[in-house]
């Protein structure tokens, strides 16, 4: 049975990760676009933050699969329903894949991986050609994640301001957090 709304833990994780991932994308593009000392400072944040996002994403996925999500409004057009499902599958896939690719590409380069004073074992053996592929993938998939987040953001505001169907409030909290009831009243 689906819950009526997201739990406070689900909401908390969502907004924490929203901030972390958006910060991460800006750090990532910033650190490869400068030769100043910021390159090293941002890199030092990028790696532990990536590991934190990977762990949080796994926790979130487990909670989502066990607790479920509130249902979408029954009058949502099939195409939008498909878009909602597809974009959430892709969001979870990229939240987990990007840190793993980052870890794998450092391993393929033979780089020692030291995060917050911890030695992290390599995911695979050194392989330069594979590093080339993973490094390119890391950039393009990060840009894809940014595009997805912008779509997610636009869709959330579309629900909040245009459809006013309670989908936004299910995650944002506050008034109208029980979408099914509200729809039946209209």
């Amino acid at each position: 049975m689906s819950p009526r709304s997201f739990s406070p833990l689900q909401r908390g994780l969502h907004w924490l990760m929203a901030a972390a991932i958006l910060t991460m994308l800006f750090i990532g593009i910033g650190m490869v676009s400068t030769v100043s000392h910021a390159h090293l400072t941002l890199l030092a944040v990028h790696r532990p933050l990536g590991l934190a996002i990977l762990l949080l994403a796994i926790v979130r996925l487990v909670i989502r699969l066990t607790r479920g999500t509130p249902p979408l409004p029954s009058d949502l057009p099939p195409l939008m329903r498909l878009g909602a499902l597809g974009s959430h599958v892709l969001l979870y896939a990229l939240m987990i894949a990007l840190p793993l690719i980052g870890w794998a590409m450092m391993s393929a380069a033979g780089d020692p991986i030291l995060i917050a004073g911890m030695h992290i074992p390599p995911l695979l053996s050194p392989n330069a050609a594979l590093h080339g592929i993973l490094r390119e993938a890391h950039t393009w998939l990060a840009l894809a994640l940014l595009a997805l987040i912008l779509m997610h953001f636009a869709a959330a505001l579309f629900h909040a301001w245009i459809r006013r169907d309670g989908v936004f409030e299910a995650m944002a909290g506050g008034e109208g957090a029980a979408p099914v009831v509200k729809l039946s009243q209209q």
Binding site: S33, V35, H37, G132, F158
Partner: protein
């Protein structure tokens, strides 16, 4: 409905624009790794699969035997008495794959020393005693002078950067040897060591040859042809393993760490921390050094970067070069291993 839609479009566009700004898309002046690589690119374009600078090189594997003297300066595991594997590379500081050994103004040696716990000390050094300019911005400008048609460009640059004139005067007096085994290679940039008590020491380091240097005139080098350095290394290594001493130079208070164009006085404390013994010289196409990015900021616990702005710049530019050349890996075929 039009107003909320417009609001959504504006908010999405704002985030996208902030991202593009962070990527430097709105700046024509920000120094990016790609702008550095554009300056390094020769007229005929890059050599796919190869480094974007210091292209012509040869690999070696060897052993670093730490004397233990380094432990007074740094708690790094590679300074504890013992043997640690080395993956190294000798190279010409030139952007052409087929640069002439006789003509290259600067030579380099890079090393990667690995501790038992997997920590690495990577260093890319050159045989010049200091760097020609004080900042990455000035270096970027200097690299562009080769393409300038203005005959006054170089004099103007030298006037604006007195350290460059000093470097020119010094390098005019320096004579090259005819062997990688006779050169001294310097870290140029400064680093901060942390010893076992937590105390910091500003340092530079050098790798000193065991073979006494025999300076040659430019005419003597020209007579050797464009490709004598690799053969010389192989001949010497076949006769007896090549050896180099790793020496750390400790700054005195006030010595400049942020300016690699400024040499430190010669009377500073010098500590011999160990000896590198070359075990095998290897063609780059098959060898380990090919796939190492000698990023000078890859350092073990007990060593860290100083306020020298070149370290971040080198790290950022080397990473981009490594990304490009590993993506082009198939363009530089790996041949069957050959015996040395």
């Amino acid at each position: 409905m039009a107003k909320p839609l417009l609001g959504i479009a504006v908010l999405v566009a704002l985030v996208a624009a902030a991202f593009a700004y962070t990527a430097g898309l709105f700046s024509s002046t920000r120094l990016t790794p790609d702008r550095f690589l554009a300056q390094l690119q020769p007229a005929e374009g890059p050599s796919p699969g190869h480094r974007r600078n210091h292209l012509k090189g040869i690999c070696f594997v060897g052993d670093f035997e730490a004397s233990g003297a380094g432990t007074a300066l740094s708690r790094a595991a590679v300074f504890k008495p013992g043997h640690y594997p080395v993956v190294g590379r000798f190279n010409l500081a030139d952007t052409h794959l087929h640069a002439s050994d006789a003509m290259a103004g600067v030579r380099g040696m890079s090393i990667q020393i690995t501790a038992p716990d997997g920590e690495q000390w990577r260093s890319a050094m050159i045989d010049a005693p200091m760097f020609p300019v004080a900042t990455p911005q000035a270096f970027h400008e200097l690299l562009g002078l080769g393409r300038s048609k203005d005959p006054q460009a170089l004099p103007h640059f030298a006037a604006a950067h007195p350290e460059f004139a000093a470097f020119g005067a010094l390098s005019a007096r320096l004579q090259h040897t005819a062997s990688y085994a006779q050169d001294q290679y310097n870290s140029i940039d400064s680093f901060i060591f942390t010893d076992g008590t937590g105390e910091h020491h500003a340092v530079r380091w050098a790798v000193l040859p065991a073979v006494p240097p025999e300076p040659k005139t430019q005419e003597q080098l020209n007579q050797l042809g464009p490709d004598f350095l690799f053969a010389d290394l192989r001949t010497r290594q076949a006769a007896a393993p090549l050896r180099f001493t790793v020496q750390v130079v400790v700054a005195s208070p006030g010595d400049p760490t942020a300016e690699p164009s400024k040499a430190w006085p010669a009377d500073r404390q010098h500590v011999d921390v160990g000896v590198i013994t070359v075990q095998q010289i290897q063609d780059e196409a098959n060898a380990r050094c090919r796939d190492v990015n000698y990023d000078p900021t890859v350092l073990p616990d007990g060593m860290q970067v100083s306020d020298d702005p070149f370290l971040a710049a080198r790290s950022a530019v080397y990473a981009r070069s490594y990304e490009l050349r590993t993506a082009e890996d198939a363009d530089y075929p790996r041949t069957a291993p050959t015996s040395p």
